[in-house]
């Protein structure tokens, strides 16, 4: 995918994202301590763990919201460690947030247009009407997530599940190599969850996007992930297929066995 | 076309209109009496048949203490209300804005109260006249007294704006000329209306002066005096103070009034000249209150305008100005004159000492300082007034 293939990327073998030995502490509390993993193109990888395991910290280091104390983040062979979120985005990382982050004073379409404008023209043009920019592209993205019908509605009045879809469309706007989704289905009804994740998986496969997501709902995790990475107290304790992780005794002990979330099976 | 009737009324009524702009809401302590004095004079003039066979009418406008608002009113007054001339102004910057406006619009402006020297000198022009004794004149009156004192080490305190700074400048310059042996050991410039009195008093005290020259007035003065009295700042020291004898600023001090300060002001209760008694009686009869200095300024400004109109025989501004140069007019303090050389009137002020009488502040040992005697020589004035 990437035009420039560095020697490192060759080692990582098709990995779009490589996290190496990431660590972050907040005043004495070691939130993440030496975590390494990779995500390949077109794959859905779930990052799970009990509350406080370091998932969101990990995410924020990947997305640029936090600067790691140690370790590196490599995107398609290029080190992006410690870059600002806006730089990380430009290099091909789309992001959705635990609490949906959209522009409430804009319509659904305008939200996507904003991302497209940022991607294609830059935002420094003070004259050309923004509404007329990239309408078709925006609508195509909205169609992809099933929000085309509601393109003219204000984001401020949307249902929560719809907001998540808009966010997904926005995250897809710059044709990312990697999609980071923090709790993409939080606050949604069970049926909505399944639909959203199926949609994401379909898009990921189609566009060959690597997807890394955190999730509390184990049904979602086991149904939609190609691989599962388990964190516990800032350390990586398992990394494998859903089935392998489910059988892992350590995971069962610290995670599933704790009864912290609905195992289901 | 709908506007026509009012225009017809304005011109057809035949009254002479004066547009009077002042900071009525921002400086009510001075300007309420001012307006009353003005209206008293207006009533008297009109009762006597007006001037030129026409009544005088005044349109009052409040500039809220902002020069830009004063300029707006001025434009509105001459264009919409078709006034014949402008008057008023309390703050120096408002006065200067109107001065410049008068020049630009070739309209007479009778500045009543603003004290800035620039009004008649540096920025003076053909269209502007001023009634009150200027900063220079009042400083000169006090320097005359200050020079007689034994004190050599002076501390100075003045509000931080042009009036305060100019007063200090003239006081230092003139006193140094009269008494080369004096030195100035401290200068304090509290923000106007926001003095931090305790700290200011302490800072003055720390310089151990033998005498103090004060320019603060109104609430700054009141607060300075209370803190100064408690902390003993004024004990055993001479104090020379601008405007403090004016009832506007003396009365709020009440029992707190410091005694023995050398001040400029207005001894309204004791001044027994026939002109003043007549004025005071009329004022008391109309308002059931004693006149303040503002009342005199309003009264005199109005009367001087009436005198100018009568002398010119017309409302034509150019002729009116010619008439006003050298015009002698009646005042509550006796006769005064608008000097031809710089358009400053020779109205004076009273110089005396403060004292306590029945728990109230009064002026004693006062004398009238005729403004004509406290102005620089004509040659000096010419160099200071580029407009000629």
């Amino acid at each position: 995918m990437s035009a420039v293939v560095s020697p490192r990327a060759a080692v990582a073998d098709e990995a779009v994202l490589v996290a190496r030995d990431l660590a972050k502490s907040f005043g004495g509390v070691h939130a993440v301590q030496g975590v390494s993993f990779s995500v390949e193109a077109g794959r859905m990888v779930a990052l799970i763990g009990p509350n406080g395991a370091g998932k969101t910290t990990c995410f924020n280091m990947l997305g640029g919201q936090l600067k790691p104390d140690r370790g590196e983040v490599i995107l398609a062979g290029q080190a992006i460690t410690g870059l600002k979120p806006r730089r990380v985005w430009r290099l091909g990382v789309g992001r959705t947030f635990q609490i949906t982050a959209t522009f409430t004073s804009m319509t659904v379409r305008e939200n996507v247009q904003m991302a497209l404008i940022s991607q294609e023209d830059g935002v420094w043009n003070p004259f050309r009407p923004a509404r007329t920019r990239h309408v078709a592209a925006a609508d195509a993205l909205l169609a992809q997530v099933g929000m085309r019908e509601q393109a003219e509605r204000a984001c401020g009045v949307l249902a929560y599940g719809d907001l998540k879809r808009v966010e997904l469309a926005v995250a897809l706007a710059n044709r990312p190599k990697l999609l980071l989704m923090d709790e993409p289905t939080a606050g949604m009804a069970p049926r909505e969850r399944v639909e959203l994740m199926a949609l994401t998986a379909r898009i990921a496969a189609q566009e060959q996007i690597a997807v890394l997501f955190t999730e509390h709902d184990m049904d979602v995790v086991f149904a939609h992930s190609d691989r599962v990475i388990v964190l516990d107290r800032g350390r990586l304790i398992a990394d494998g297929t859903a089935e392998a992780v489910r059988q892992d005794p350590q995971v069962r002990a610290v995670y599933l066995g704790s009864g912290a979330t609905s195992g289901g099976h | 076309m709908l506007a026509a009737p009012s225009l017809v009324r304005a011109q057809g009524a035949g009254s002479i209109k004066i547009g009077e702009i002042n900071s009525y809401t921002a400086q009510p302590a001075f300007l309420k009496p001012y307006r009353q004095g003005w209206e008293l004079a207006l009533e008297q003039v009109n009762a006597g048949g007006g001037v030129l066979g026409r009544k005088i009418e005044t349109i009052f406008r409040d500039d809220a203490g902002k020069p830009e608002d004063a300029v707006r009113h001025a434009g509105d007054l001459i264009n919409a209300e078709k006034v014949d001339l402008l008057s008023g102004g309390f703050l120096s910057n408002v006065g200067l804005a109107l001065t410049d406006f008068a020049l630009q619009n070739k309209r007479l402006y009778a500045a009543s109260e603003p004290l800035s020297d620039a009004l008649v000198w540096a920025k003076g022009n053909r269209y502007t006249f001023r009634l009150r004794p200027s900063t220079y004149m009042q400083a000169a009156m006090l320097v005359e007294e200050a020079a007689k004192l034994k004190a050599r080490k002076w501390a100075l305190v003045a509000p931080n704006y042009e009036y305060g700074q100019s007063s200090i400048k003239w006081f230092k310059e003139l006193l140094k000329k009269a008494r080369p042996d004096v030195e100035f050991v401290a200068e304090q410039y509290p923000a106007l209306g926001r003095i931090d009195a305790g700290a200011t008093v302490q800072a003055l005290e720390a310089s151990k002066p033998e005498a103090i020259f004060n320019v603060t007035f109104a609430v700054d003065l009141t607060n300075l005096v209370r803190q100064g009295n408690t902390r003993g700042l004024f004990e055993g020291r001479d104090v020379v103070s601008m405007l403090t004898g004016e009832p506007e600023y003396l009365d709020p001090l009440g029992a707190e009034t410091p005694t023995g300060w050398i001040v400029t002001g207005y001894p309204h209760a004791d001044l027994a000249t026939p002109e003043h008694v007549k004025f005071r009686d009329a004022y008391k009869a109309k308002y059931n209150d004693y006149p303040r200095l503002g009342s005199v300024v309003g009264f005199d400004t109005m009367n001087s305008i009436a005198a100018a109109l009568a002398k010119a025989g017309t409302t034509d501004n150019e002729k009116l100005i010619d008439a006003m140069e050298g015009l002698k007019f009646p005042s509550a303090f006796g006769s005064a004159e608008y000097r031809a050389i710089d358009h400053q009137s020779t109205l004076g002020a009273f110089v005396g000492k403060t004292a306590l009488k029945d728990g109230k502040g009064v002026m004693v040992d006062w004398r009238y300082a005729d403004g004509a005697k406290y102005l620089p020589s004509d040659d000096v004035v010419k160099t200071m007034r580029p407009a000629g």
Binding site: R86, E110, P129 | A80, N160, Q188, G198, A203
Partner: protein, 632 residues
């Protein structure tokens, strides 16, 4: 020397006490209700005047008369607070952020005239406090015993407040509401009662602060505005909602004043604002403040959609412009002066709106750029001998450059902190113009800034102003709907998302800040030539407040709001000033009424009305469509 340092420290502590009382009330009110209470200085003033009346009446010589009067004054002011809260503020809590400021400003104006009518123009010097009339010798200096009492009252009140907040249920609620409003709402607390009681309590503290000043300062009609700006500084320097912070800041400001007098006697005007600027740059949330929980604008206060003008609105705009252009043909000459001023103010308001509406950056100091534009023009005329045309071009660059410099600091903050930093910079600019007499002429200003010969006539200058202002307003409007304007709105709506789609939010805001400053500079330059002179008042606080009022009155979240607001506010105040000497009361009352009737601003109210009408037409259709689609 050492004596002096100790004495000045005590002086600083004494003047800190009243400041603290007022500021802590302001801070508590803001913390719970999020109201920036402009009328807090007026409550302080009322405390002083009512205290004066009561003490004089009850007998100032007896301890009971004096202290009873002081206490009663505080109580009465608290009741006045209840009246203000129940009659006005309660009706507009749902209005957009800062809108309540407009109402409280109306109250300020009304109280000014009420106080003048009630107590007259003369300053009222209160009696000395029984038992505290004299002095003690401290460090070889006489020190008033009353000042010592005040020094003690500060920490005493602080301790009482601490006890109240830590040990009572009411205090706990106040603390909780300060930290997280939604949470308290969720707890099912009677919010109305909480808000009213908090407002009354804060008002009472202000009243107490005013009454306690009586033995050391005369009550005057100016004490409201001089107190409010310092109280704001104290609240912000201390950290919003932090009472301890307010005490520290009050002490800091008091002591700085006392020592500033010794070291830089002329700088007292601006010292507090310099301190505030430094504190905010170093500690963006004040000394004791914490970053507010959650975004300043949560989902609860979603901004309404901003739509480009439809055909009807465009037509209305065009008609308005044609009417303005045709005005010289039909209106009498003198009306042109009024119109010229209104047109200039419309641009001034529109420039503030650009950063405040789409940018979400409210400025309490926008007059700085208006004033710098005016001074730019005047300085070019005075020192470079420039004619009007080049001066008009040069002037906005002075404002724009100031915008670049000040804006760089301001965009690092948000909300009220940002607004207060703009105020600090404006005061610094003002003080520079005021104090740098050699360059600017000080408060006497620069005279003789008249237009070129061809533009001297009223009609010519009106057309010049109209052409420039209309072009600039249209340009600002175009910008709102451009990618830059969208990015600006994006940064306001959700900075996290904005950064996550590759946009440098601070830089976008910085550019917008500069554009707003530049546009205000254009308005200021025109104003200078219109008036023929410039003065420091052009960049003083009242002018900044004027701009804020115009924008709020018109409606922050509408693009044409500021223009309507400018015409409404400036037009109204101008007419009222002509009609009555009690224009302040009338104007204040009008503002309060407008605020209560149109809580989204004039244009906002109009749009809401239209939307409701439209919705009643379409609503049925939308509901059925959504129902058939069901959950996707």
């Amino acid at each position: 020397m050492f004596d002096l340092i100790l004495t000045q420290t005590l002086n600083g502590l004494a003047s800190a006490s009243s400041l603290f009382l007022v500021a802590s009330g302001l801070s508590i009110i803001f913390g719970v209700t999020r109201i920036v209470n402009f009328a807090h200085g007026s409550l302080y003033m009322l405390g002083a005047y009512i205290g004066w009346t009561l003490v004089t009446w009850l007998g100032p010589t007896s301890g009971l008369g004096f202290w009873g009067g002081v206490g009663l004054a505080a109580l009465l002011v608290a009741i006045i607070g209840v009246v203000i809260e129940v009659a006005i503020l309660r009706r507009i809590y749902q209005a957009p952020e800062l809108f309540q400021l407009l109402a409280t400003f109306g109250v300020v104006l009304m109280i000014q005239d009420i106080a003048l009518a009630t107590w007259g123009a003369e300053d009222k010097l209160g009696p000395r406090a029984p038992g505290f009339k004299s002095f003690v010798i401290l460090f070889d200096n006489r020190f008033p015993t009353y000042e010592l009492l005040l020094i003690a009252i500060g920490p005493l009140v602080l301790a009482l407040l601490w006890f109240l907040f830590q040990k009572t249920r009411w205090g706990t609620l106040v603390r909780a509401a300060t930290q997280d409003r939604e949470m308290v709402a969720a707890l099912g607390v009677n919010q109305r009662l909480l808000f009213t009681s908090v407002f009354a309590f804060g008002a009472g503290l202000a009243g107490l602060g005013g009454a306690l000043q009586l033995p050391r300062e005369a009550a005057t009609l100016h004490m409201d505005l001089s107190m409010i700006s310092e109280a704001f500084v104290v609240v912000v320097v201390g950290g919003l909602g932090s009472v301890t912070g307010a005490y520290l800041a009050a002490v800091l400001i008091g002591i700085l004043h006392a020592f500033g007098i010794l070291i830089f006697p002329k700088i007292t005007l601006v010292l507090v604002f310099l301190v505030m600027a430094v504190v905010l740059v170093v500690k963006p949330y004040g000394l004791m403040g914490r970053r507010p929980v959650g975004a300043a604008r949560g989902t609860a206060t979603a901004e309404p959609l901003l739509r480009p003008a439809d055909r009807a609105a465009k037509l209305a705009g065009l008609v308005a412009l044609i009417l303005l252009a045709a005005a010289p043909l039909v209106t009498p000459d003198y009306l042109l002066l009024t119109l010229t001023e209104l047109v200039i103010f419309a641009l001034f308001a529109a420039s503030l709106h650009f950063m405040m509406g789409p940018g979400g950056m409210a400025s309490f100091g926008h007059a700085a750029y208006f004033g710098l534009g005016a001074y730019g023009a005047a300085l070019a005329v005075k020192w470079l001998g420039a004619p009007m045309e080049p001066a008009l071009i040069f002037a906005p660059f002075l404002a724009g450059i100031a915008g670049v410099v000040f804006g760089w600091f301001c965009v690092r903050l948000s909300g009220v902190y940002l607004a207060m930093l703009t105020l600090a910079f404006a005061q610094i600019a003002w003080a520079t113009a005021f104090q740098w007499v050699e360059l600017t002429g000080g408060d006497n200003g620069i005279l003789g800034v008249w237009p070129s010969h061809w533009a001297v006539s009223k009609t010519a200058f009106y057309y010049l102003a109209l052409a420039i202002c209309a072009a600039c307003v249209v340009l600002l409007r175009v910008m709102v709907f451009s990618p830059l304007g969208y990015a600006l709105r994006a940064a306001r709506d959700n900075p996290l998302r904005t950064e996550a789609i590759g946009i440098d939010t601070m830089r976008v805001q910085w550019v917008a800040f500069t554009i707003a400053a530049f546009a205000a500079g254009i308005a200021g330059a025109l104003f200078a030539f219109f008036k023929g002179s410039v003065f420091p008042t052009y960049m003083a606080i009242p002018r900044s407040v004027d701009a804020l009022l115009m924008v709020l009155l018109g409606g922050v979240q509408t693009v044409s709001g500021p223009i309507v607001g400018a015409f409404a506010y400036a037009g109204l105040s101008e007419q009222l000033m002509k009609m009555t000497m009690y224009w302040r009361f009338t104007l204040g009352l009008s503002i309060v009424l407008l605020v209560v009737l149109f809580p989204r601003g004039l244009v906002g109210g109009f749009l809401a009305l239209r939307e409701r009408r439209d919705r009643s037409d379409k609503d049925g259709a939308v509901v059925t469509r959504l129902a058939t689609e069901g959950a996707p």
